[in-house]
Symmetry: C2
Subunit: 311 residues, 2 copies
């Protein structure tokens, strides 16, 4: 079985009516919500990532999902497994990275576990409060599709680190590596945006923008047309100068930890003001229409490709 | 750093006043409590344990801790990491073992994560409700010390599996392997006992009885005298016939997943009736006196030894 088949097996074994296992977070009826995400060094940590960055990322991944669902983080539990021979400084750096995030977002550690394994594992569990639910399935015909932040950078950064594909422009290289090593979800903006009530559907982008858009389209039973670049003019230009296709890099990347959302066009200006207030960049990249699937405005299909583990 | 030093580092980095990281579970003020426990195949799973038993154990470890603290399990999250090459049947067996426990105790899975790693990991998070808190620190002079179930069997079973130490008696071998492969915390008894209000201190025994008693004595600032065997006459005899010391096996084992508790002597008979009602064996193994440390009635010191990972 691959990852998706295992998840299906888990769903068919355990899922009950009121607690769907399909969305990003688990909302309980008492306004508490839960999310867990496991970071595994051998699969989730690219070359050159420091202990500090690794610790930071283990929390960021969960905060991104939660904030995309309007959940304010309150409590955390951490399960660690460390391998034989790990050095003390590295562990201390990891804790520093975690601590920066718990300080920044006022999260209290309430429990955890320490183990030994043949890999380095951080399983981060966060418990938070929400005021309003938002699902992947709420996008309506006529809604605008938005992303938070610049897409495409992680694709280039990971291509450099994993496939040794050189980045010629130093500025782009800096942005791309920063995006990979220190992803920065716009937690406070995301939560305020959800709480405004104007977001109709939302999802964390970390499985890739193409995957995320397809998932929203499928769950909402609508078609999405992508007609704009999810990045600044500057980054678009820098990526083009590398001889790459900026839109392809933006669609088929992943690991951005940013929010993708849909909004009623009457409320666009409100959200743009909110983004300005939070000093956050948001990009309108498309519209929701009748039909199914995700397409570029030239008619090309955007495939539901994402990273899937095989065992 | 070893395991305990890492835990100390985590405490000094993250601990805040109202949320001590020293006890078995995290009690929040709203009557919800939380516990996470990570099972790692390379360190926690003895030879010959089936996928079903492994899945079962990943839940049992958490239920034991929670029930020992009076917490009724309600919701669960599961983070898995599977290694390359794992076969489908094995995964399905693991899920069956987990399912048996979620069915038996009516626990709803609300979320999780599936990953790939160089080890097999199940991180089990359970969220439950409690009516009354009980800590490690509540034992009073004059209290009686009790354990639930027979101790010593896991020591013999693990000695057989890890150190290849033969077990001559077939009945004892059956009991010992069953204790290792299918630990069976008395969840319902434990919770009813805590809710009675008569338990003054309690702790899960899985780090070893000697460690557990020392921990209760330390946190409660009392001395514990062990004056009785934590096992049935039959098991005591079977262990003796192997040429082993039953008390030593009982004290310096671990992985029993049973409750160790202290109770006011006036309430002993109530708890004995409660145990009978639940068809559970409990043994009075000692008393709480003034002083510190844990001692046998002959004056021998019971050392605070337990399993600690080194890295």
């Amino acid at each position: 079985m691959n990852e998706l088949e295992i998840i299906e097996k888990i769903r068919s074994t355990f899922e009950v009516k009121d607690y769907p296992l399909t969305d990003d977070v688990a909302y309980l009826s008492n306004k508490w919500a839960y999310k867990v995400d496991m970071l595994v060094k051998s699969t989730d940590v690219p070359e050159g990532m420091s202990g500090y960055q690794l610790g930071r990322k283990s929390v960021v991944a969960v905060l991104s999902d939660l904030s995309t669902k309007g959940v304010t983080a309150k409590f955390m539990m951490l399960s660690f497994a460390f391998p034989e021979g790990i050095n003390n400084e590295y562990i201390i750096e990891i804790l520093k990275g975690i601590k920066e995030m718990t300080n920044k977002y006022k999260i209290t550690l309430i429990g955890g576990d320490v183990n030994k394994a043949n890999d380095l594992i951080i399983d981060c569990i966060i418990i938070g409060k929400y005021k309003r639910k938002v699902l992947r399935s709420g996008a309506r015909v006529g809604d605008k599709v938005y992303v938070v932040g610049d897409f495409g950078l992680t694709t280039i950064g990971l291509d450099y680190l994993i496939n040794k594909k050189e980045i010629n422009n130093e500025k782009l290289k800096f942005f791309a590596l920063k995006a990979v090593y220190e992803p920065d979800p716009q937690v406070n903006f995301n939560i305020d945006a959800i709480n405004s009530g104007y977001i109709t559907a939302s999802m964390d982008s970390s499985d890739g923008l193409a995957y995320t858009l397809n998932e929203i389209a499928e769950q909402s039973k609508v078609k999405i047309i992508v007609n704009n670049y999810p990045m600044s003019e500057e980054i678009k230009k820098l990526i083009s100068l590398e001889g790459r296709d900026p839109l392809k890099d933006a669609l088929y990347g992943g690991e951005e930890y940013q929010m993708v959302f849909t909004v009623n066009p009457k409320k666009e200006s409100f959200l743009q003001r909110l983004a300005k207030k939070h000093n956050v960049k948001i990009y309108n990249i498309g519209t929701v229409v009748k039909g199914k699937g995700v397409y570029l405005s030239n008619g090309d299909k955007v495939e539901k490709k994402g990273w899937v583990f095989t065992f």
